[in-house]
Amino acid sequence: MANQVGNYSLFIALIASIFLIFQSYRLTRNSSKNLDSKIFSVLSVQSLMVLISFISLVFAFIVSDFSNKTVYNNSHTTKPLFYKISGTWGNHEGSLLLWLLVLTFFLFIFLINSKNLPKKYRLLTLTFQEVIIFGFLLFILFTSNPFINLFPIPKEGTGLNPILQDPALALHPPILYIGYVGTSIIFSASLAALVCGNVNKVWASHIKKWIIISWIFLTIGIMLGSIWAYYELGWGGFWFWDPVENVSLMPWFCLTALLHTIVVLEKRNTFKSWTIILSITTFSLSMSGTFLVRSGILNSIHTFANDPSRGVFILCFLFFLIFLAIIIFFIYQKNISNSSIRTYLISKETAMLVNNWFMMFFLSVVLIGTVYPILLEVINGSKISIGPPFYQKLILPFLIPFLLFMAIGPNLKWVKDHINKIKLEQPIFLFISILISYLFTTSYGVSYLFSVPMFGLGFFLFFLTIRDFFSGKSTLSQKIAHFGFSLFILSILFNGVLAKEYSSNMKVGDERKFMNKIIKFENLKITQELNYQSLTGEFNISDDRGNLNLKPEIRIYNQPKTLTSEADIISTIYSDNFLVFNVLKDDGYYNVRYQHKPLMIWIWLSVILIFVGGILGYFKKK
């Protein structure tokens, strides 16, 4: 029953979409001042239909309706309710339906919130957005329909992959998707603004809200994914430069660049074409992300679906949108003339531009690292794998000038500033920072590439952003976000340099000594949970400063049969103690891995600070 409801409401949404594309395009030639009320009601119907279809899928998951193929493949009656619900978007079909839901609702909110803008611009945004919605509807209905009936009805489902049964991961996809889909509004709106020729201050302050919203969600989404990888995958790292992680990072770089450029457009009415290009690129990158992940062209722990027909569809649709955007850009580029404002070398505009260059550089590094292996394999069949060293070697050295500009840039004035106004305190701060970093690196024997300037500029940015809280010229949201970023860089650096690891095979009762600490395997408890069996190890780690009790867990899921290790992590503001253990053979020995990770929690806290900055920027009054 839910299957039919879901399926038919999607078809109604498809018809609504066709109607809206033609009607809104036709109305752009009409000169009446108000939007046709028909458009608004059809759009409401469409949103409602998509919502109904999504709810019916959630419902099918909740009641474990195994006549639905998606539910059968991804759920199980013994699963807790929370994971039954999150299972809805934990698979290919359901996640696309979620995409669609966010797409239609964002469009709906957009139309409500843009009442004071020109009618033609609103209608064109609607047209472009409906083209995207139409494409996704076709994709869902014809290649990945979540409402396929199974007959005879199976008694039991095959279960959700246990490593996906986790609260952080239940929220990670929807939040990331809101970020991705937000970029679609930016894309449609900037194309519409280009066609109407109203790429100006008013438009900038209107679209800035959407940029900030997408940016906030993208940031949280990436962070949740990374938190999940940290404690669930059991490797102790938080970023692996896996292609799928990269795919979410690329739109983030682009969106961050756009976030800075749009401020210039809002304040100074310049960088017009660049803003449009960035908007198009950001959305293209979000879409290519979907393509790369969903088509199975990448080899990664994240790749789920492996159906070539899906890949071909997304690829054609993606390039259709990109070509459409490029053609529109070249035809209407003359509509936007940069008002010939003089810009000076030492000014906030330049600082923003420098930010953009760096973002584009980081973006290209990640883009090349992700896409180049695919290109090479197709062109001459050779296989290469690109790992963390590539990214670290190319990104880290360039962080040094980036941090320097980031520290100085925000305090420059618009239009023109003077170099002799740089106060004495900046060189003093720089000197102190380099000194601290030199003392630190020598006393800890750190000998990585550029470690002294890296730490030095990390500290420099940290000090300057703190000072800016008292005297800076920029907005509070900017101060918090930049301060958060300096904290982020410092925590990553310290974490990377000072982390320690110890690993050994132990059985119950064993004791091992390492790094002035004693680790003892005290007990092993076996309990039966609803849908898994749990082995909990009780460990005690003691040193002269006290002792810690850690209880990592191994879970043996029955549906599908999988082992997962849940690390136990004790976080303090100074460091994380991370312990994970694994089954070896059946002789009572377990492989135990202990990691001491200084300042780990600050990585998450600093990202939270960064997006708090974003939230303040959103609510800022004009």
């Binding site: 059991g234 490797w235 393509f291 088509s295 199975g296 062209i297 080899n299 790749t303 492996n306 070539p308 890949g311 071909v312 690829l315 390039f319 990109i322 070509f323 490029i326 070249f330 580029q333 695919i374 290109l375 394999e377 197709v378 062109i379 001459n380 069949g381 050779s382 296989k383 290469i384 794998s385 095979n505 082992l563 694994n582 070896l584 053979k585 020995y589 492989n591």
Partner: protein, 178 residues
């Protein structure tokens, strides 16, 4: 005029990317019957883990009808899980399992084998990962089934072995014997 040239260049570049991706989609993910990589590079030489001498992959492949080249590392968790499959495969007579120890410390590698058993007839060590790249490995673990006569990769398994892959290997090996 310049604008048109820019436009054409961008469109052409876009088309190029499109075609490359389209072709990339056809590329099978689980194994590669790619003509260039079908042949194992027998000339690759490396030091072995236990005997401390240089040996070429070609010499190792010659021993039996079928060789299974397994890229592994002690730090790799999935390798631990697939290890029991390798131990079981070793019991099949005409299969010869060659290990490539990928970016590992020798002490850890030896410890790993001591704990879990050693299914390999010989292990080549690959501390910087170059041999594995030459073999076309994406990461660890990876397993290639090689035919002795032709040095051809019959099948390439990306990721840890499981029940399905195990049965497939056994099936291929048994069929060819007759």
């Amino acid at each position: 005029m310049i604008k048109n040239i820019k436009f054409i260049i961008i469109i052409l570049f876009g088309l190029f990317l499109f075609l490359v991706f389209l072709k990339g989609l056809d590329k099978p993910n689980s194994y590669s019957p790619n003509s260039i990589l079908n042949q194992i590079e027998t000339k690759l030489t490396a030091r072995t883990l236990y005997k401390n001498k240089e040996i070429s992959l070609g010499e190792l492949i010659d021993k039996n009808n079928f060789s299974l080249i397994n890229v592994w590392a002690s730090w790799c968790l999935p390798c631990r899980n697939e290890h029991s499959y390798l131990i079981n495969l070793q019991k099949i007579n005409n299969i010869n399992i060659i290990g490539i120890n990928y970016k590992d410390k020798e002490i850890n590698a030896k410890k790993f084998l001591k704990d879990l058993g050693n299914p390999y007839s010989e292990i080549l060590i690959d501390p910087d990962g170059t041999i594995s790249i030459e073999l076309g490995a994406y990461g660890v673990p990876e397993t290639y089934l090689v035919n002795r006569k032709t040095n051809e990769v019959i099948k390439k398994f990306i990721g840890p072995l499981d029940d399905l892959k195990f049965k497939e290997i056994v099936k291929i090996v048994n069929n060819e014997k007759i």
